[in-house]
C-alpha cells in the first residue's frame, strides 16, 4: 500500500470528509435549508471518490463514494423535513450519550471476545456469558447488599462460564462454535431457572444497590457536558478498558504471547509458552469482561434482571469484533457505530410511529452492509477456531 502516492490518498480522504459534510450542513446546528447545498457537496464527494477509485485508491475511494451518496441522501431528506422535527431528532449531545450507553455493554463483550479470539478460541458464547453476568451481578448485589460485591460475583460467574468454554474447547478440543452455542443455551436456561426459583413471581427486589453514575457537573451544558456529564461508572470503565486492552494486547509480553497462540500455537509452544494456559486465561477473561457488559445492563440500569435481557447483544458484540478487525479501537469503533444506529433508531420515531419498528432494524442493516463491504478484507487470527493438539 505504501507504493501508492500519498497525495492520492489524502485527496480520497478529503472526499470522505466532503461526503460527511454534505449530510452535516443540512443538520443542526448548521441547518442549511436549501436542498441544493447537500446535493452539490455530495456530488463533489462522489466525484472525488470515483476519481480516486480510478486512480487506484480503491478502498478509500469507495468510502468517499459511500459517504457521498449517504451524505447527499441524508442532507436532502433533512432539508425536506420540518425544522421542529429535525431539531427534536438531531440533538448531538443526546445522540452521542445514547450511543455511549448502547455501545458500552457491546464494548465489554467485544473486548472480551478479542482476548479469546486473539488467543485462538472463537467465542460465540459471549451472549450467554453476558446474560450470566447480568443475572449473577444482581443476585450478588441483592445477597451481599453492595454493588461492588455484586459486580465481583457477576464477573466471577462470567469467568466460570468462560472456564467451561475453555475446558471444552481447549482441553477437550470440542468444536468452538458448538461449545459457544451450548454456553448460550445453558446460560439462558440457568439464569431463567434461577431467577424464577429465587425470585418467584415478584421479580428481583427494587432496593438493590446499583452501580453509581459519575457526575461531572463542571462540564456544563454544552455538547461535551451533555455527552459526558453524567455517565454510569461502567461507561467510563469501558472507555478506559479500550486503552488498557490495546496496551495489554500490543504492548506487553503477555499480549505478544496471546497473539502468538492465536496465530501459530505450535510456534508459541516451541518457545516454551504454555498454549493451553494462555488460551484458558484468555477465554476466562473474555467471560469476565462479557459478564461486566451484562452487569451494565442489569445492575447498571435498574438493579433488576429480566429473563433473556441481553436480547442478542452478545452476537452483535461478536460482529463488532470482526468488523473491527480484531483490534481494540476497531472493535470499539464498530460498537459505537452500532450504538449510534440504535440511538438514531429511537430518535427517528419522531417522524413516524408506525414505521418506528422498522428503524429498529437499522443497526443490523448497517452492520450487514459494513460486514459485506469491509469484512472481506479483515483477516482473522490464523489459528482461530482450531483446537491445538499438543504433541
Amino acid at each position: 500500500m505504501s507504493r501508492l502516492p500519498r497525495g492520492g490518498r489524502a485527496i480520497a480522504w478529503a472526499g470522505v470528509l466532503t461526503g460527511v459534510l454534505a449530510g452535516l450542513i443540512a443538520l443542526p446546528p448548521i441547518e442549511i435549508r436549501s436542498a441544493a447545498a447537500p446535493v452539490v457537496v455530495g456530488l463533489a464527494a462522489l466525484t472525488v471518490g470515483i476519481g480516486s477509485w480510478i486512480r487506484g485508491e480503491r478502498r478509500i475511494g469507495a468510502y468517499a463514494v459511500a459517504t457521498g451518496v449517504l451524505g447527499l441522501v441524508i442532507g436532502y431528506l433533512a432539508t425536506r423535513s420540518s425544522v421542529d422535527k429535525l431539531d427534536a431528532v438531531v440533538v448531538w449531545g443526546a445522540l452521542f450519550a445514547a450511543m455511549l450507553r448502547y455501545a458500552t455493554p457491546l464494548a465489554f463483550a467485544s473486548l472480551g471476545g478479542l482476548f479469546s479470539e486473539r488467543s485462538g478460541v472463537v467465542n460465540i458464547g459471549l451472549e450467554g456469558m453476558m446474560l450470566t453476568g447480568a443475572f449473577f451481578t444482581v443476585w450478588g448485589a441483592d445477597d451481599t447488599g453492595t454493588w461492588t460485591l455484586g459486580l465481583a460475583i457477576g464477573i466471577g460467574a462470567g469467568g466460570l462460564m468462560g472456564l467451561l468454554h475453555a475446558f471444552f474447547s481447549v482441553s477437550l478440543r470440542a468444536d468452538q462454535i458448538v461449545g459457544g452455542t451450548a454456553i448460550n443455551f445453558l446460560a439462558l436456561g440457568l439464569t431463567t431457572y434461577l431467577f424464577v426459583k429465587l425470585y418467584g413471581s415478584q421479580g428481583t427486589p427494587s432496593n438493590i444497590s446499583t452501580i453509581p453514575a459519575v457526575h461531572l457537573s463542571f462540564l456544563g451544558h454544552g455538547f461535551v457536558g451533555d455527552v459526558f456529564g453524567r455517565l454510569d461508572l461502567l461507561i467510563w470503565v469501558a472507555i478506559a478498558l479500550i486503552f488498557v486492552v490495546w496496551i495489554v494486547v500490543f504492548k506487553t509480553p503477555i499480549g505478544l504471547r496471546i497473539r502468538a497462540c492465536g496465530e501459530h500455537p505450535r510456534a508459541a509452544d516451541t518457545v516454551g509458552i504454555n498454549v493451553y494456559a494462555v488460551r484458558y486465561g484468555a477465554v476466562v477473561l473474555s467471560g469476565m469482561l462479557a459478564a461486566a457488559g451484562g452487569a451494565f445492563l442489569s445492575l447498571g440500569f435498574n438493579g433488576s434482571f429480566t429473563p433473556n435481557m441481553t436480547a442478542g447483544r452478545g452476537f452483535i458484540a461478536l460482529a463488532a469484533l470482526i468488523f473491527g478487525n480484531w483490534r481494540p479501537f476497531g472493535a470499539a469503533a464498530a460498537c459505537l457505530l452500532f450504538g449510534f444506529a440504535s440511538a438514531l433508531g429511537v430518535a427517528l420515531q419522531t417522524y413516524s410511529l408506525s414505521i418506528s419498528t422498522l428503524f429498529t432494524a437499522l443497526p443490523y442493516v448497517i452492520t450487514l452492509i459494513a460486514v459485506a463491504g469491509v469484512i472481506g478484507r479483515s483477516i482473522p487470527p490464523a489459528a482461530v477456531g482450531r483446537p491445538y493438539v499438543k504433541q
Binding site: 470440542a174 431457572y193 424464577v196 426459583k197 472481506g376 493438539v389
Partner: protein, 430 residues
Amino acid sequence: MSETVRQLPEEQLPVSPSTLERYRILQKAGGLVAPLLTVVLAFLISGVVVLLTTGSVVDTAKTYKGIFDGTGLDWFFHVGSYQIGVPFTSARVWFPWNTNDISSQAAANLEQTLLLWTALVLVGLAVAFAFRCGLFNIGGQGQYLAGSIAAVLVATELPHVVDLPGVLLILVSVLGGMLAGAALAGIAGILKGTVGAHEVITTIMLNWIVIWVGSYLFDVGGPLQTKAAGAAGAVPASTDIPDKAQIHVFWGDPLFQGLDVGFFVAIASLVVYYLTLNRTTLGYEVRAVGHNPEAARYGGIGVARNYFLAMAIAGTFAGLAGALDLLGWKFREDITDIQSSSIGFIGIAVALLGRNTAIGVGLAALLFAALQTGTASRSLDPSIFPPELASSLAVIIQGLVVLFVGADVIILLALGWLRRRRPQKAATAT
C-alpha cells in the same frame, strides 16, 4: 516395495480434525452409541438440577415421568380399538390406539410433539445441509420466519388476484415460503462466496432484520396488518388465511391444532435430504466443498456457487418449515410470535445431535420436540415440579446436549480406552 513404509504423522496434517471429520470418525466409532450417551449424560446432569429443586429422588423420577407423559409418547401404551382418518379422504381405518378423542391428553400431546417434530426436522435440515457445505447456519430462525411471512402474504393476498383452488393456493403459498427462505439464506451464501463475510455474522444480522421487518409489517398500522373490523382489527397480526388455504389435518381436530399433512412433507424432506447429498452431483459438490473447499476448487468445483446453493437449499428447508407451520396450524402471523419464537435455534441443536445425517436429524428432532412439549407447563403437576421452571429446564437440557455433542472427544476417548483395554486384559489372562 515389498514392504509398505510406515509413515509418521506428517507435520502438514491439519493440527486437528475438522468437526465434520470427527463426526465421521464418531459414526464409525460409536454409531448410535455416542449420541445416545450424550443424551443420557445431559439428562443425568439436568437430573441433578431437578433433584436440587424438588429435593427428593422420587420427585425427580416423577418429574421425568411427567415430562415423558407430556410428550404424548405414552400414547403408544394406550392400546385400544380406535380409528384414524386417511389423508385426503373421508375414509377411516381401524387403529389400535385412541386417535381422536378430545379427552385423550396423550393423543393431543403426541399430535403437538409431531407437529413440532415436523418443524424441527426442517429447520434441523436447514442447519445440517449448510453444515455439510462447511457453513454454520445460525439463520434458521430468520429463514423460518421469512418462510411463514411469505406464506401468509401469498395465502391472504393471492385470492384477491386470482381464485385458485385450495390445493393450488397451498402449493403456491408453500412455494413462496420456500423461496423467501432460500433468498434470505442465499444472501448469506453470496456474501460468503464473494467477499468472504462470515456466515455466522451475516445470518445473525439477517435474523434480526427479518424479525424487525416482520414486526413492522404486522404491527398495528403496518402494511400487512389485519384489515378486520372492530376489536379484531387492533391485533398486531396478519389477516387470517382463508379456510381453503389450511393444510389438511389427518389426525386430531383441525380446530385444535391437529397433525396436518406437513408431517409427511417432513418425512419426505428427510429422504430428499439424504438423496440430494448422497446421490446427486449437487450433493457431491456440496460435500466436497464442505470437507475441503481448496481441494474442491482445485478439482474444478465452484466454491462460491456451492456456498450460495447450499445456503439457498438450507433456507428452502427452513422456509418450508415456516410455511407449513403457518398453513398447518398458525393460520396467521402475529408479532409476539415473530419476536418470541426460537425454533431456529433448537434446529441447531437438532442438527448437531443428529450429526447432520437424515436419520440422526429425524431422531434428534423427535427428542427435542418431545422435550419441548413434555416440559410445557401444562404437562407437569405443580405439586411435584414448579411448571414455571420447566421451560428453563428444557433449555438447560438442550444446552447440555449441545455441550456434550461438541465434546464428543469424551465419548471417543472412552470408547477408544475401552477398546484398548480389552485386548490388554486378554493378554494378561493368557
